[in-house]
């Protein structure tokens, strides 16, 4: 129950509320401008926007190079998702239940790619790849994403483990199931939501990832890198259009992710806490 901030407090609330509105404007205005201008007949820039048109979106549809990169991104994102979860889930279990030498170091190491600037992780992997003699390609990007995003899977699953009722596993053992059966029937069942949530998040982050991909790219571009290379050449209104689409896509993903977690019985607090506790 919120404390009753009566009369004198209300004054301050108003200023604070105005300030908050200002911050929200700052956060959203640029993107809204972008979206508006994706319909702008006059192309990029200029004010006010005129000649509302869908031309740029039409051009987008015919841009085969762009669609190739979208396909590449999808392949990378899905593969990275599989790798990250396949490794992140056991990592979370290990952190939760097993004590082994170097556990603290392991935990920090796993989380490092999230807090270190992407360039460092990207370069490190690049140098390793070159030393091994592996050619740069989508595979190396998959490697990079999969590794860097293990932390996301670990964090989500770990939070899910903390919330789960331990007694359920004990009940399962008590009823005659062995550890493997318990794992499949009880543990994993409880982790369904966190895993799906992690999958969504990893997918979205991978689709947008540039810093690490930048160094591991071969001949095939991912979508962000394709856009990037075009940006370097010059701005086109087509990019506004594709940016708008990306925005809407990410928006959808994140709303779904959020709803999933809320359905799993958490509120904004838990999610914020989980998202930052492990990292910070």
């Amino acid at each position: 129950m919120e404390p009753d901030m009566t009369a004198p407090g209300k004054e301050k609330s108003r200023w604070l509320g105005a300030y908050a509105a200002l911050v929200f404007t700052f956060l959203y205005l640029p993107v809204l401008v972008l979206i508006v201008y994706s319909f702008n007949g006059g192309g990029v820039g200029g004010f006010p926007p005129r000649n509302l048109t869908l031309d740029w979106y039409r051009q987008l549809l015919e841009d085969s190079a762009l669609w190739d990169s979208v396909l590449n991104s999808l392949v990378v994102a899905l593969s990275a998702m599989v790798i990250s979860i396949a490794l992140g889930l056991p990592a979370a279990l290990a952190l939760d239940r097993v004590s082994f030498p170097g556990k603290a170091l392991f935990r920090r190491l796993v989380l490092l790619p999230l807090i270190l600037p992407g360039i460092i992780t990207g370069l490190s992997l690049l140098m390793l790849v070159v030393m091994i003699g592996l050619k740069l390609s989508l595979l190396t990007i998959i490697l990079g994403h999969g590794t860097a995003l293990i932390a996301v899977a670990t964090t989500e699953v770990f939070a899910g483990l903390q919330k789960a009722d331990r007694a359920q596993e004990e009940a399962s053992l008590d009823l005659g199931a062995n550890h493997w059966q318990t794992f499949w029937r009880v543990t994993l069942a409880n982790l369904k939501l966190p895993v799906i949530g992690a999958a969504l998040l990893i997918f979205t982050l991978s689709m947008d990832e540039i810093a690490v991909s930048f160094f591991l790219i071969g001949r095939d571009n991912t979508l962000p890198l394709e856009i990037w290379s075009r940006l370097r050449r010059g701005m086109t209104p087509e990019i506004n259009a594709v940016s708008t689409i990306i925005f809407l896509f990410s928006l959808t993903m994140i709303v779904i992710w959020y709803r999933l977690r809320v359905r799993g019985g958490e509120d904004a607090t838990d999610i914020a806490v989980a998202a930052t506790e492990e990292i910070a």
Binding site: P117, S124, S243, D267
Partner: protein, 282 residues
């Protein structure tokens, strides 16, 4: 409670992977920093510290590093100035709309970095929205050049991107503050303002430290925003690294700079972690 086989099956794969693909690469980075490159672009695997000496002796590197730290520091300050009051508002004053407002803040976080950086490019350009708007309103008579391709643009863009990052841990910390504490404070005679200074602020400092660390570290190592909106005066340390791995082909030197950056970041993380522990109590 768990059998040995279970424990091994669960720990071995991730540990192995992490050792191979995280610890090893980071170590290789360090390794490279001690090698050199010949003019014919061959990497000489000979151990010496010439790269580090070059970093210390040639002034441009320190200059750019300092500029990067200045920019990162400014971004951190600004994102705290924006993110902290926002977190306080959403946590304590938003009432029924709290959930919605929280969602509104985290949405930009997950929306493409490129999209957001690019948006500023379109707005700040000499032919961009802001300039044309200003001229349209007769506030200025010609395009303001400093808006784009300057440290100013980099700071603006990075602040825009990292403010939600800063917001998150602060909000989490504030949500962790039990509401009875706020009530107790008011019960004992403290006005909401007083309560903020004496109770909410001290208890949210660990979150602020975490948020500040986030935005500082990530801004420091950012190379995309400078490339998009920074121009020559907005170059940051990571851009130098990028060029050393690109046209200026000197991987060892690039590795040395990256290694320094990495050490700096890790040192910072340790320091802030200890600071957080000192401030955090419950």
């Amino acid at each position: 409670m768990f059998p040995r086989a279970y424990k091994i099956a669960v720990s071995l794969p991730p540990i192995t992977w992490v050792l191979l693909f995280l610890l090893l690469p980071y170590s290789v980075l360090f390794l490279y920093s001690f090698w050199t490159v010949t003019p014919s672009q061959q990497i000489v695997h000979q151990w010496n510290t010439s790269n580090y000496r070059e970093l210390l002796q040639v002034p441009v590197y320190l200059e750019v590093l300092l500029r990067s730290m200045r920019i990162a520091g400014t971004v951190t300050l600004l994102s705290l100035l924006l993110g902290y009051p926002l977190a306080y508002f959403v946590s304590f004053h938003a009432g029924a709309r709290k959930e919605l407002l929280y969602q509104l803040v985290i949405i930009p976080l997950w929306v493409s970095y490129l999209v957001r950086a690019y948006a500023w490019k379109t707005i700040l350009g000499s032919d961009g929205v802001l300039n044309t708007l200003l001229q349209y309103l007769h506030i200025t008579s010609h395009p303001q050049q400093f808006l784009l391709y300057s440290p100013f643009a980099v700071v603006l863009t990075l602040t825009h991107i990292y403010t939600p990052f800063t917001f998150l841990p602060i909000y989490a910390a504030m949500e962790h503050i039990p509401r009875p504490l706020v009530e107790a404070s008011q019960d004992l005679g403290a006005t909401p303002m007083h309560t903020f200074w004496r109770v909410i602020l001290p208890l949210s400092i660990p979150g602020a430290i975490a948020g500040a660390t986030f935005s500082f570290v990530l801004s420091l190592g950012d190379f995309l925003a400078p490339l998009l909106v920074g121009g020559p005066s907005g170059i940051m340390i990571s851009n130098i690294v990028v060029s050393l791995f690109g046209a200026a082909y000197n991987w060892p030197l690039g590795a040395a700079i990256s290694a320094c950056m990495m050490l700096l970041v890790i040192a910072l993380l340790f320091a802030t972690e200890r600071l957080e522990k000192k401030w955090s109590l419950t």
